[in-house]
Symmetry: C2
Subunit: 921 residues, 2 copies
């Protein structure tokens, strides 16, 4: 008989932190805490295996489960000297999901399970706190109905609203013009008395009967099994599915189910509840960081309905809220909590996210897990923990997910820019973002799909809003703290977020938000009405909101970040270059640590306004002579660009690709543009139309481009070679260390390379004839066609280096046009045909075969061949790991991804040595 | 010191037939004949190595050549007791090119070399035939000037014209309205007397002086070296280059130069010249076949200026020309010739093409080579020679070039069709063709490029016309025999040709041809004027010309052809299937010997008029439900097609590919079509435009097509599966042996195949539920993407067969769109980047790697996996050899290429065993 149920409590647990796969993160950590001697309400975990067996059997529990649950129940009863279902001495449970990976708020939780009329009456008598009991009871019924019996929670909320209005009336408050949201603020739950709550219980049971046709189950055991099944089934709810897709969590894992005896933070003023992090999850600073609420249940803190207090005196004081902290209010409990958090961080060797409840002065831990953190915090914690000796440098490197540092590299608001301040909220997730205001997640998604940058503005967010948060540039909420849903999710997404901004008031119906703007002295200054579509800017690091779009400046890459990068650089073997087409880009990339340019696209230089005329003149040429005439005009521009780039990259390699795109890309296609061009170039419209028709291609991706252009019009390549060589000559004469590499695109035969090489050599001789300094200029090719990879041994006879153009190589190997695949790629990801979008993450098993084949074959011909990648995969951590494995010399990516690549390259080395990446950003 | 010069003569030669590479075909065969004791005018051959050395050294002869030539010259002088340059007893030479491969008429020849004023006078005295001598002398000067000194031959022709007009005037002929062509007929060369010829010599020398600034060289040695250099240089003339490109002859081979003592067929009525084939080169019949002219030089026969006589009595008699044959006129020489031709055919074991000259009653052989022949003749000769025991069956198979039998498979004129007879000429090259008349090669090329079918009509053709002949459907000439340029070249090209059609008279200026139509009794009936652009039909097998376009019927594949095919079938290992989409095509292909259908494209069924409406309804559907409604309408059509195909292919496999092309291919794109569709389908034009825009793809080749459609719209595939299964059920119930194979296009992951397989299995179960007969239906996939080839081991887990779609595999592997590559592919072939168009001949070294990789990997997973090819390469002999080598089970090609494939597959086996293909078709 398999072990289905793992007991924990009384200082001993069946499981431990190592049993995450079986018990889920929550269950495993509860067991671990018990084993560490930390006070945890006893309970038991039903394993993830039971969940998968339950689904496999068509929602049926496996044999033997009932007996094991009964056994565990009686162990809890014995330990607490209470009895589940005993009206005189009742035991209540929480039933929560808990999977291997943390999926905050995604699945369902039921609290206060085990209550019925009789037991409630008994408990009211026992605790002499009927208000508390009936509050718990009505919450339980609503929660259970919602989750287990699928009766919508709105039905219950309407009834609470009715009660609230009665309470308000009783207090003489005018409620005629007040909406439900405002009413909630005026009449908080705490103002509803026991009798009202008790009658709500009856009303709720009526709702249940009305919608399910059955009485609300009064048998605690029946309640328990209903809840367990619902927790399991919640694994397949829509929110959970979306979250898993976003976070690459397999469907097959399933969730465990934790049944834990209830403790209450809402028994009165000696009770409390809170959540905390052992270090600041937003900045990474080594300070205990958390929020608490007296006389509250845990959900009150997380849901953001009441704005919580700081735990530490220092934090509260800093905000001008002296005396509100847990440290000051309940020093004993605080001291216990402090001991526990230090013990936990030491034990887990990481920043921990903990939940606690104080029941009548006694502190219990309800949950602990490795805490999620922002990218910047992740970097700072990793570096400081290594500096503190808690972890090694290698571990520190592996602690930071390369993808997550993206947010460190984003721009921040320009400090010198004029800003119109609107309001201040909590700095919930760093970074800056400007966008058009939208008020619903659906609208955010819709407008983002249309290419618009939007900010999602909500009173508070809930798991139903995830798709809109994903689509928005940033999130602004009127309510909720640093651990509110909006804040946690935004940090996870690396999106900027300002939370709990109470100066704003949202009218969803009118699609406006009204902002009460205060002056520096805190006096009301004006009221600004922002309509949907208006531009607003958020500074997530400062928690500030501005009107209009504020300009930004680049991120600064110093401090912990710089240290981490140094450590990564000392470990990695892959060099990291950048794709840059201008001297300016080249300089930016160098600041990001780029060790050269892996791809300089010469055609981008053609599009500039002062050049495009000559380019078009060249295209419209009918003879080689005309073409050469136009090319002569382009030469100085190209030469000048290369001079700038060589100087910016003094001492570092610069790979320059000759003209790649089909010529029709340089001609206008819209009628009015053609008419205009006809005028400015004094060319007949008909001739332009004819040229467009001549150059039209059915499949331009597979058309007349790359080296094929240079084969047809060698004079174009000759001009480019000349521009490169002349620039190199100018720079070399000025003492610049030029390390140019000329790269031929789209080749697939040695002969193509040979023909171009002749021209290359001849032009080199012409340019450098009689020169003192002759910088060596390498000659190589892109590998971006399957045939090129297959023929690599041949190509390497002429090419001194290969650079994998994995964008095109993916397109041709998979027969997949990046411009068109959008129509079916989502189906392909949804149906698990592709694990990931192959244009974002290199298809290692397919396209990767060609890459590694080309590496082997190229090396066989030319052992010292230089190998690199310049497709967009060069900035994708998983693809970089692949590049390391196949032995490339470098990756090249966009400037802002250079630090990501540096870190990913270090990860690749450490993983090869057996290191494991653990990230909670 | 290398041997540069090979002597032949006096019964002994330095070389032999085996020295073709060194001596060229002509030189090697001259040596061989000498060794066989056949009378050949003595001479020597300067090797091809000298030619390549000459070019390599910048048109300079290698050391030692002069001495070796001098030595050979003196051996000839000794043998003939004549002296080169001796006015009293002069020796004259011909200087001819001769490369490894026969290139008839492509390079230059100089005759009568060694004449100057003094020698001419001496020879006139010695022969007492000044007319002959000065005729030879003026021809020599014109030829030498044209070829060696680059003075255009028109300059000389103008002067001959002047003389002709004088002669005509002298004879009282009115020449006022006569053009040069007509004048040539009225005053043939033979009517120009010695004195006129002698004065022409002076005139010609004047022309030479005027254009070159120098006297015509009178030193015979100087003449000789000039001629040798010109012959070498003629290797690089434009005609020769075109011919080599058309016939895959490498530039590097170079030509040999044959210097041979002159014999004269124009010394009077006891002299003659002729060309012959040991068997009929047009039909392959085992009869001696040739033409001769008394008192003529060889060029007169070949050039088609005089219409020659038949050699054998039988042939002459059959044409009603009794008494004109060589057999009758010069029986002694004929007997010698007969002995020689029988000896040669026995010795060479093949049909020989021979040239002879009778000088004053003595017969000399000037050339012998394996004779070119039509495809049908090639088949008949090979089969009959094997049956006669001259060669083996295997040799017979290898004697027939698979590509050449194409012309056997072409349609012939429908015997029952109404035809308007115009004229009769010589059946110069079999087959039938209709087309619009054009009168110049350039026009033929131009109109063919525009997609028009044209017939090239010329008085006679010359090597300058090759590009036009290549572009035309057929060729009609007014003059020239079966061995005229037009006839030889047309047979080589497999094009239909009617030659020597004297009833037509062409006016190039007016762009008309006037046809004198005769009745059956030979009496003039009417005169028809055909203008450029009018339709005319040629029957090349019967030598008949018809007005208008006459319908055709398919070829009949019996007799020798059937025997050869049987032999090939007994040898080959590859099966040959066909690509067929309709029951009719299937039946045709089966008659051609197809062993199944390798590719049935279901979408072709969608385009039929009675179906396209339902197809469009399906495409315009917004929901799956609407789509299913439209698909229900298509189902019966598809089922009916499959029933027809299964019946036609009873007992043979039928591979059916599910829908492949992108959906937009089924919608109209022209405005007027859209408007029309809008009316017939009662759909808004805007909706149609929107759908077109929605479905537009930048690179449709890499777009939403193949299995990707079936993944997005499984209901389409489901309908197709159902139609196949229901058809199979109907046929099986009627006792038809159904061997269906369902093929998924464009797949590249196992998961795609698995998803479709689920649907396939489910639909199969539904259709065959409760059936008695359940034909096994195989499930497989196309391999047409590089990734599919790379992942073959995975795909073979689900696929029971692979069919290589080498069209698309070539496009993706090479990144080459077939629709667009025309813009640069010619450059690529010209610059030797591609040896051949990769869409015609499989790129074995590149794309082939993926094919063989997929075969290996597929077999590793599933040892009995069925492997085939269904790209157009399946009908290309060279590609078929590759398919055999990599171990495919079958090739599939278009119906008309099935016999070619059967033969090519046999070649592949025999070549593997060391056999060598020799073809002269």
């Amino acid at each position: 008989m398999s072990k289905h149920v793992y007991f924990f409590g009384g200082g001993k647990a069946d499981g431990s932190a190592g049993d995450k796969n079986l018990l889920g993160g929550k269950g495993a950590n509860l067991a671990e805490m018990v084993n560490l001697g930390i006070p945890v309400p006893p309970g038991f975990t039903i394993t993830t295996e039971v969940c998968t067996a339950y689904f496999a059997a068509g929602n049926k529990y496996p044999d033997g489960l009932t007996a094991q649950v009964e056994d565990a129940l009686s162990r809890v009863e014995k330990l607490l000297s209470k009895k589940f279902g005993d009206a005189n001495n009742p035991l209540l449970f929480s039933v929560r999901s808990g999977s291997r990976a943390s999926m905050p708020g995604m699945m369902d939780t039921i609290l206060n399970l085990g209550l019925n009329d009789e037991i409630a009456a008994g408990l009211a008598k026992k605790t002499a706190n009927p208000r508390f009991v009936y509050d718990a009871y009505r919450r339980f019924i609503a929660m259970y109905c919602d989750i287990v019996l699928e009766v919508k929670k709105e039905h219950f909320e309407v009834e609470i609203d009715v009660v609230r209005r009665q309470v308000a009336k009783g207090k003489g408050i005018d409620i005629s013009k007040i909406n439900a949201e405002e009413l909630k603020k005026l009449v908080p739950d705490s103002m509803i008395e026991a009798d009202d709550l008790k009658s709500l219980v009856e009303t709720f049971k009526g709702i249940c009967k009305k919608h399910t046709g059955k009485d609300f189950p009064s048998d605690p055991k029946e309640q328990l099994w209903g809840a367990v099944g619902a927790v399991f089934r919640s694994w397949h709810n829509a929110r959970a599915k979306t979250y898993r897709k976003m976070n690459d969590i397999p469907e097959s894992w399933g969730t465990a189910c934790n049944v834990q005896s209830m403790v209450f933070g809402n028994l009165g003023e000696t009770s409390a509840t809170g959540v905390a992090f052992t270090r600041d999850p937003s900045t990474g600073e080594n300070v205990f960081y958390g929020e608490w609420l007296p006389n509250a249940q845990g959900e009150d803190v997380v849901a953001g309905i009441r704005t919580p207090f700081d735990i530490t005196k220092a934090a509260a004081t800093a905000k001008g809220n002296e005396g509100t902290s847990l440290e000051e209010k309940m020093p004993q409990s605080y001291a216990t909590l402090r001991d526990i958090y230090l013990k936990l961080e030491k034990h887990y060797r990481d920043m921990m996210d903990i939940e606690f409840t104080i029941e009548d002065g006694t502190l219990f831990m309800l949950q602990c897990r490795v805490g999620k953190r922002t990218g910047p915090a992740s970097v700072r914690m990793a570096v400081e923990m290594a500096q503190e000796g808690i972890i090694t440098k290698e571990e520190a490197i592996l602690r930071v997910d390369p993808s997550s540092i993206d947010q460190l590299l984003h721009p921040r608001l320009d400090p010198k820019a004029e800003k119109k301040f609107l309001a201040k909220g909590l700095p919930a997730s760093p970074g800056a973002a400007a966008g058009h205001v939208v008020f619903t997640a659906d609208e955010a998604e819709k407008q983002a799909k249309e290419g618009k940058k939007v900010l999602l503005v909500r009173t508070e967010t809930s798991p139903e809003d995830i798709h809109g948060m994903d689509a928005a540039q940033g999130i602004l909420t009127a309510r909720g703290g640093m651990t509110s849903h909006a804040a946690v999710v935004a940090r996870g997404m690396g999106k900027c977020c300002v939370a709990g901004c109470s100066a704003i008031n949202i009218d969803y119906k009118a699609q406006t938000m009204t902002v009460s703007v205060y002056d520096d002295a805190g006096k009301p200054k004006e009221t600004v009405v922002i309509k949907a579509g208006d531009l607003v800017t958020l500074d997530g690091s400062a928690g500030r909101v501005y009107q209009g779009a504020v300009p930004t400046v680049p991120a600064q890459l110093t401090g912990s970040f710089g240290t981490l990068m140094e450590w990564a650089d000392s470990v990695r073997k892959l060099k990291v270059r950048t794709n840059a087409d201008t001297p300016k880009d080249a300089r930016v990339a160098r600041e990001f640590g780029a060790q050269g340019i892996g791809l300089c696209r010469t055609e981008h230089m053609f599009f500039a306004e002062d050049r495009i005329a000559a380019v078009r003149e060249m295209i419209l040429s009918e003879t080689e002579e005309q073409r050469r005439k136009a090319l002569v005009k382009l030469l100085p521009f190209q030469r000048e660009d290369f001079v700038g780039i060589f100087k910016a990259m003094n001492g570092l390699p610069v790979t320059i690709r000759t003209l790649d795109p089909p010529l029709h890309e340089f001609l206008p296609h819209e009628n009015h543009q053609i008419t205009e061009l006809s005028k400015t170039m004094a060319v007949e419209v008909t001739q332009l139309l004819k040229k467009n028709a001549d150059l039209h291609e059915f499949n331009p991706m597979l058309g007349h481009r790359g080296v094929r252009l240079a084969i047809s019009y060698p004079e174009i390549a000759e001009m480019q070679f000349r521009a490169i060589f002349e620039a190199a000559k100018i720079c070399a004469d000025e003492g610049v260390d030029v390390q140019a590499e000329v790269m031929i695109p789209l080749s697939m035969t040695k002969r193509e390379l040979d023909l171009q090489k002749e021209l290359f050599d001849r032009t080199y001789e012409e340019v450098f004839k009689g020169s003192q300094k002759k910088p060596r200029i390498m000659y190589g090719t892109m590998i971006e066609l399957p045939r090129a990879a297959l023929m690599a041994a041949e190509l390497a006879k002429t090419a001194e280096f290969f650079s994998f153009g994995t964008n095109d190589l993916t397109q041709t190997t998979m027969g997949l046009s990046r411009d068109d695949a959008g129509r079916f790629l989502p189906d392909y990801v949804r149906l698990n045909i592709f694990a990931k979008d192959p244009f974002q993450c290199l298809d290692a098993e397919g396209v990767g075969q060609l890459v590694s084949m080309a590496c082997e074959r190229g090396k066989a011909t030319r052992p010292d061949i230089k190998l690199g990648i310049c497709g967009e995969h060069g900035g994708d951590p998983q693809s970089i790991e692949f590049c390391h494995k196949v032995g490339l010399n470098y990756v090249s990516c966009s400037p802002y991804r250079v630090p990501i690549a540096r870190l990913a390259a270090a990860h690749a080395v450490l993983k090869e040595k057996g290191g494991k990446a653990v990230s909670n950003a």
